[in-house]
């Protein structure tokens, strides 16, 4: 027994020695690679693996290109890219909101995209400076338990959820990129103080903290909380699967920031040594195939190639939301700081 184990450990030690050597050699070769587009493309995805992994697999199948994906929270990955600086292994950043993309643009981490790529989406869904492009649109909603909350009792504004009436009934996800982007928008429309008061109010109102949108939606359907601050497609997809009996409803308060329409989008890293291949990947996300995937599989709003959204959704044009320029909600750092100061991060 001992002999076999000793052998195993010896082999392990040799392998380790091997690894070490490889890596020493690797440090130089990585930066020397030219933009041939033949190496694996590295994508940092703030979007959930469940939602986008099938699409990326499709891309790999159709193009024969290899893609490595690092999944994480949008803000976490954006912050990582800033920390990594010129040494970042990432070629593409695929985020779930305009805020993180804007923050990366401000830090000069993203290259300017081809105008033809930018022009394929409506002006509202791309960076004014041209460093990122929206790949699908999504609406913030107030999801609610249709068994416990009557339509008439739903709040007229998301800001009402800090009222005593909603104590302990709300679920939220402060680490989530879409939520943070909404807070950045709230800071723009209402000012920092009111935004902070809202966050602190939710916290003091015993709002339950969740890991992400899916967890919140499931918490509503399981009766754990009655109200959740999430994106529309989590409910739309579940309803499609579970049928009309699905007990989670969508509320989009008229003219309220709680009904904000945001984008998921992508940018190409300035530090990437495969910028052409990375741009091709972004182009693929805007292609008809990918847009249909967003429409049919994830129930988001397509933004290019004239692909229609799913019928079950409120048409994008009918969503009554305040006028917020997505290019301006780029102070993610400030929002993270605000959430930290409020004691929720």
């Amino acid at each position: 027994m001992y002999r076999k184990l000793s052998l195993a450990f010896a082999v392990g030690a040799l392998m380790l020695a091997g690894c070490g050597d490889d890596d020493d050699a690797g440090s130089d070769s990585a930066s020397a690679t030219a933009d041939t587009g033949t190496g694996a493309l590295t994508v940092y995805s703030g979007r959930d693996e469940e939602l986008v992994a099938p699409l990326i697999e499709r891309y790999e199948r159709e193009t024969g290109n290899e893609v490595e994906v690092r999944y994480g929270d949008t803000a976490e990955l954006a912050s990582t890219i800033v920390e990594e600086g010129d040494n970042s292994p990432a070629d593409v950043f695929f985020g779930q909101d305009a805020g993180a993309l804007g923050a990366l643009q401000n830090e000069n981490r993203l290259i300017e995209l081809d105008s033809e790529l930018l022009d394929s989406v409506p002006a509202a869904f791309r960076s004014a400076e041209g460093n990122w492009v929206g790949t699908s649109a999504r609406a913030r909603i107030i999801a609610y338990d249709t068994r416990k909350v009557q339509q008439a009792d739903l709040p007229e504004s998301i800001l009402d959820l800090t009222d005593e009436e909603w104590k302990g009934r709300v679920g939220w996800a402060p680490t989530n990129g879409s939520f943070q982007s909404f807070i950045t928008a709230l800071r723009l429309t209402e000012g920092d103080d009111d935004a902070k008061a809202f966050v602190e109010g939710l916290k003091d109102n015993d709002a339950e903290v969740y890991d992400g949108n899916t967890a919140i939606r499931d918490a509503i359907s399981n009766g754990e909380v009655e109200i959740g601050l999430i994106n529309h497609y989590y409910v739309a997809a579940a309803r499609d699967e579970e049928g009309d009996d699905y007990p989670v409803g969508i509320h989009q308060p008229a003219g309220d920031i709680g009904s904000l329409v945001n984008i998921a989008g992508a940018g190409v890293l300035a530090s990437s040594d495969q910028q052409n291949a990375a741009t091709e990947f972004v182009r693929y996300l805007l292609s008809e195939n990918a847009q249909k995937y967003f429409a049919d599989e994830t129930f988001e709003y397509p933004v290019s190639a004239d692909v229609p959204a799913d019928d079950s959704l409120t048409p994008l044009a009918d969503i009554d939301q305040p006028d917020v320029d997505l290019s301006k909600i780029d102070d993610l750092q400030g929002t993270v700081k605000l959430l930290q100061d409020a004691g929720v991060l």
């Binding site: 001992y2 990585a30 754990e224 700081k337």
Partner: protein, 538 residues
């Protein structure tokens, strides 16, 4: 985690006597190289903090940091207190009374140590949480709509108490077994009441064991990442983890340094109580008399009830929940291929870490056991850095180091293995040094006098004799590395999924069913080195 396990196993405290020859320069160089490697993360973290000293100071004085300090120490204090409160009666019942099945109880009470804190916490949430089994049972017939939330301080407190109380129980049981009853008998003989005897004679002798065990618990709680994350309690480790999204590396590094400072204070206290404990142990005179067991009589029923309750929550509940979720998972689709890949990756990383730690331990342990001196003392001390450094701190430091300095190592398996070695080297050094101390230096000297060189003597005399210790050390490192969580999360290469990461991901998303099979596989994988260690002890 490393710290607590090493200490719980009673790894050597100080080598006495044996002041060997001067260390050969090559050995000393190897030892110093290992020391430099394990001190690297802490050193780089200091550079990061120091390079923006004023910003770091501002963060340290901020209300947020102070709140964090208060919360983390409150949790550590609460868990320590409850672990002691559980262990005192348990150890007394198992050692000093005629409690039925006391041998079995005393073994069962130690088993919770095998369950990683995040698996324990996940199973607790899935049983007693707002969406757990209990809630489901109560919902229908009793019409109870919601249970008091388990998340936050309460949940972290319960989960960590159940995970750590054996760390107090173990030294306490040892101490109780060793107590010489003649002192107590003398006190009783002179008319002292039972309670007074306990207070004046027994309790003071137990204090060192309680203190040392309690501080181990505190250290475990401060370094724990898994349980607090699943219980959503913002202690240092969890906030450091989420702060990576803050675009503020100085602030995050400052928090990490603050945590290290707290663990150092706890370690220092622990070292002090340990030295006091030795004084007590050596003070026991002559051969101890046989202890009389207290007859419980009618009291044995409540006593049994107490033991059963503790074991029920600490062991039966997690095991039962794991069985329940596993059967449910097996009824549906289990992603066997991804679990197999994760298991393979976990094995690979842990095996590499065990091998590398064993290799690094050789010069350190040789210096410590054979060549006492200032330099070898320094080498040995620095090899214990992993004791003071929570996994999340080492991981964060290496992320900074990887993005700025060792770019080629960033997000490679080598970096992950490096972190695991830093964290768990003390386990390998401790085990190897203990067995080296049992090899009589005379045998090596005989080898040298017969004309063999130092390397040949090491290979033909020392190594075969100390092999058991080396293997035990490697097995210990494997055991802790395979379930390590924070460094694995932060440093794994892209797409390198491990069992620990898999379990953490599914359970933080409340997908209890999907966490069951990987948890079971992880426990099975760690059973192998445990069996080796147990066989050795016998």
């Amino acid at each position: 985690m490393a710290t607590s396990e090493a200490r719980a196993r009673g790894l050597p405290v100080a080598a006495r006597g044996r002041r060997g020859r001067r260390a050969p320069p090559a050995l000393l160089a190897a030892g110093l190289a290992v020391a430099a490697l394990v001190l690297l993360p802490l050193g780089y973290l200091l550079i990061v903090v120091g390079s923006e000293g004023s910003a770091a100071l501002e963060e340290l004085g901020s209300e947020r940091a102070l709140r964090l300090l208060a919360r983390s120490t409150a949790l550590a204090a609460a868990v320590t207190a409850s672990a002691i409160a559980l262990s005192l009666p348990l150890s007394w019942l198992c050692v000093r009374t005629d409690l039925p099945g006391r041998r079995v109880w005393s073994v069962l009470c130690l088993l919770p140590l095998v369950i990683p804190s995040y698996i324990g916490a996940y199973l607790l949430v899935s049983a007693l949480g707002p969406r757990g089994e209990l809630a489901r049972l109560l919902e229908g017939p009793l019409g109870i709509e919601r249970l008091p939330s388990l998340y936050g301080f309460t949940g972290a407190w319960i989960a960590l108490t159940l995970a750590t109380f054996p760390l107090v129980l173990l030294p306490l049981m040892t101490m109780l077994r060793r107590l010489d009853p003649s002192l107590e008998e003398a006190a009783r003989g002179m008319g002292s009441s039972g309670l007074r005897t306990y207070r004046q004679i027994v309790a003071p002798q137990l204090m060192p064991a309680v203190g040392a065990g309690g501080l181990l618990v505190a250290l475990y709680v401060l370094s724990d990442f898994g349980a607090v994350s699943i219980m959503r309690f913002d202690s240092f480790t969890r906030v450091i983890y989420t702060s990576r999204a803050s675009f503020d590396r100085t602030g995050t590094a400052a928090l990490a340094m603050m945590l290290v400072a707290v663990t150092l204070v706890v370690l220092w206290l622990e070292g002090r109580t340990r030295r006091r404990a030795e004084v007590f142990a050596r003070g026991a005179p002559g051969a101890a008399r046989v202890q009389q067991r207290v007859r419980l009589g009618r009291w044995r029923w409540p006593a049994l009830g107490f033991c059963a309750t503790v074991i029920g929550f600490a062991l039966a509940l997690p095991v039962g929940m794991l069985a329940l979720w596993t059967t449910r998972a097996l009824a549906g689709d289990v992603e066997w291929s991804s679990i197999a890949t994760a298991a393979g990756n976990s094995l690979l990383a842990a095996l590499l870490a065990a091998a590398a730690a064993a290799l690094c331990a050789i010069p350190v342990a040789l210096l410590a056991a054979r060549h006492r001196g200032r330099a070898s003392r320094a080498v040995e001390l620095s090899s214990y850095a992993g004791h003071a450094l929570p996994g999340i701190v080492v991981a964060l430091a290496l992320v900074f180091f990887g993005t700025r300095v060792a770019v080629g190592l960033y997000q490679t398996l080598a970096m992950l293995v490096f972190a695991l070695v830093v964290l768990f080297l003390p386990l390998a050094v401790g085990a190897l040094r203990a067995s080296l101390l049992q090899v009589p230096p005379r045998m090596e000297e005989a080898g040298r006098s017969l004309g063999r060189g130092p390397l040949a003597v090491f290979a033909t005399v020392t190594a075969p004799l100390a092999r058991g210790g080396l293997l035990a050390g490697a097995a210990l490192v494997f055991l802790t590395a395979v379930k390590e969580l924070p460094a694995t999360l932060l440093l794994s290469p892209i797409g390198f999924d491990t069992l620990a990461a898999n379990i953490w991901r599914t359970t933080t998303a409340n997908a209890f069913e999907r966490g069951a099979v990987p948890s079971l596989v992880l426990l099975a994988v760690s059973a192998v080195p445990l069996a080796i260690l147990a066989a050795r002890d016998r």
